[in-house]
């Protein structure tokens, strides 16, 4: 039985709160969607609803961090990373305040709500900020680990939480070290570098490639910042082609992060799959993933081009 990453997030917060009284949780009238409602019900004296006012929530979180608390701040990705960008930039990141952002409903998988709610730019915005750690969990187990890891990091962290229900593809024993990519599958011909909900789709693509005799590695970049440069450079020497795959704009996201590492380096051919400088629209997540090319078939096709 799978569960959504936001449900895993809500449960992890309660666990974290049990161990540490300095953990406080802030939301902007979306507690029942981001699942911070679990924490609200468990610890009502340290859950704070700010109403529909994201900028104030972010700055107030900074004030709480300056007072020794560790705030986890939740809303939808577009209204956190987007609308409250400058508050995050100046009141949190610039100060290196110990505030954790866990923004849900990121990417295309928001589905029917449409383009106004589909955030393809949140990673780009957060990646620009010096000192910001960016974690993109791929399944419920990894979401829980990301929450625990974020609490241990001194400084701002952004956890990108997707909405759909999904199965665990990692196990309790799978390591989660921020900054260290996980090799989900070894391979020597091509390497698919991905994160979040695209990890299982990349795994499917890798299996399809194997069936055609192409050995494909899959890297799970659960940490987009700091990106695992060593791992990328090692793959660049090993395989003929690298393809990044992300449920985010190809401008500024994982593909850009990998491109920045590979710039000026000889080695594998390189290509990026992501949302191609377009806004979103309404549709079921599956229909949207097909429309925007986030499919195993597209990954296979792109990998073959680099062979």
């Amino acid at each position: 039985m799978g569960k959504s990453l936001r449900v895993a997030y809500g449960e992890a917060l309660v666990e974290l709160g049990k161990k540490n009284e300095n953990i406080v949780v802030l939301d902007a009238d979306l507690a029942n969607a981001t699942m911070t409602c679990n924490f609200r019900d468990a610890y009502p004296d340290r859950f704070f609803d700010f109403g529909i006012a994201e900028g104030n929530m972010v700055c107030a979180a900074a004030g709480m961090a300056h007072s020794g608390l560790t705030p986890f701040v939740s809303t939808f990705a577009l209204f956190g990373a987007g609308r409250a960008y400058e508050e995050i930039r100046n009141s949190v990141a610039y100060v290196h305040a110990n505030v954790k952002f866990a923004f849900s409903h990121s990417g295309l998988s928001v589905g029917e709500d449409g383009g106004s709610h589909q955030s393809f730019e949140d990673i780009a915005l957060m990646r620009e900020l010096p000192g910001m750690t960016i974690l993109v969990p791929c399944d419920p187990l990894e979401t829980e680990k990301a929450v625990m890891a974020a609490a241990q990091i001194d400084g701002p962290v952004y956890i990108r939480v997707a909405r759909p229900v999904c199965e665990d593809i990692t196990t309790a024993d799978t390591p989660f070290v921020p900054g260290k990519a996980n090799v989900m599958k070894e391979g020597n011909d091509v390497c698919i570098m991905t994160m979040g909900l695209m990890v299982p789709i990349a795994m499917k693509a890798a299996a399809m490639l194997e069936a055609e005799g192409i050995s494909a590695a899959v890297l799970n970049h659960h940490t987009v910042k700091p990106i695992d440069e060593a791992c990328i450079l090692e793959m660049n020497q090993r395989v003929k082609g690298i393809v990044t795959v992300e449920e985010h704009s190809i401008i500024g996201g994982l593909g850009s992060a990998v491109a920045e590492v590979l710039a000026g380096k000889a080695g594998a051919k390189f290509s990026r799959i992501g949302i191609e400088d377009r806004f979103g629209q309404s549709g079921t997540p599956d229909a949207l993933f097909a429309e925007y090319g986030l499919t195993a078939e597209h990954i296979v096709e792109e990998c073959k081009k680099l062979m």
Partner: protein, 266 residues
């Protein structure tokens, strides 16, 4: 303390530091001198030897561009050497163009992007309530700053969470960069607005230190406090008073010398 002498000394320090770097914001720095004096000399519990003291009172200069005044007061109290003021806004000096809590001892929050400071102060007051700490949180906003929507988001949350440990002071000099508030974007009945948002509201002469002190000390329970301090932009320097052009303009040598003469400083 001889308020008048101290205020002159602080104004001279502010203008010397601004003249030295040939940038910065004299008008709004001079208008809030007495407000910061009331806070730091009469009300707040702070320790220059231990700037991060846990139970200190907190001050957030939401109108961060007036930091030359905060720096002059902090230097006067001994948080750092007074000579540092002459390196304001210079490369590698801890005195940044807008306050930086990680660089300057005694600064409790970064500010400068208008509206965010009052919101940070709300968070500090909420944290104090949750942790059952007794310290007070004070923040100074500008009148032009009140045009930022986040000020009202912060005001709404301060009342909602009954933050009677929070005092919002307004430096109401009536002028902003492009002119008078009423010409740029009228802030209307600002006291009535804060009252409607659920604040206990007081109005004082923003250059009367005793009146400001009394207003700050007036006990209020169950709601945040708002003190409208009526001030004069550029206060203390004849050619700057009530002239909006002095919001952010450097003095030339002659203007600087005139200012020093008016303050009785050589």
């Amino acid at each position: 303390m001889n308020y008048e002498e101290k205020a002159k000394q602080l104004r001279a320090d502010i203008l010397k530091s601004l003249y030295e770097c040939q940038s910065g914001h004299p008008g709004g720095s001079l208008s809030c001198v007495e407000i910061l004096m009331a806070l730091y000399y009469n009300v707040m519990k702070v320790d220059p030897k231990n700037p991060k003291m846990e139970d200190r009172d907190r001050f957030v200069l939401s109108k961060g561009h007036a930091c030359p005044t905060l720096y002059a007061v902090l230097a006067d109290l001994g948080f750092f050497p007074r000579e540092d003021l002459m390196n304001l806004r210079k490369l590698h000096c801890h005195l940044q163009g807008h306050p930086d809590m990680n660089k300057t001892p005694g600064v409790d929050s970064n500010t400068g992007s208008l509206g965010q400071g009052i919101s940070v102060a709300v968070g500090m007051a909420m944290a104090a309530k949750y942790k059952k700490e007794k310290y007070g949180v004070y923040t100074l906003i500008g009148d032009g700053e009140s045009q930022e929507g986040i000020v009202w988001e912060a005001a709404m949350s301060a009342a909602h969470y009954k933050l009677d440990n929070l005092t919002v002071l307004l430096d109401y000099n009536g002028l902003q960069i492009d002119g008078a508030n009423d010409d740029v974007m009228s802030i209307g009945d600002i006291v009535g607005k804060f009252k409607a948002f659920g604040f206990e509201c007081l109005e004082v002469d923003g250059h009367d230190i005793d009146a400001i002190t009394e207003a700050i000390k007036k006990p209020v329970t169950g709601k945040p406090k708002f003190i409208c301090c009526k001030t004069v932009k550029g206060k203390g320097i004849s050619y700057m008073e009530n002239v909006f052009g002095w919001h952010g303009k450097p003095m030339n040598k002659e203007q600087f010398e005139t200012a020093m003469k008016e303050l009785g400083v050589n």
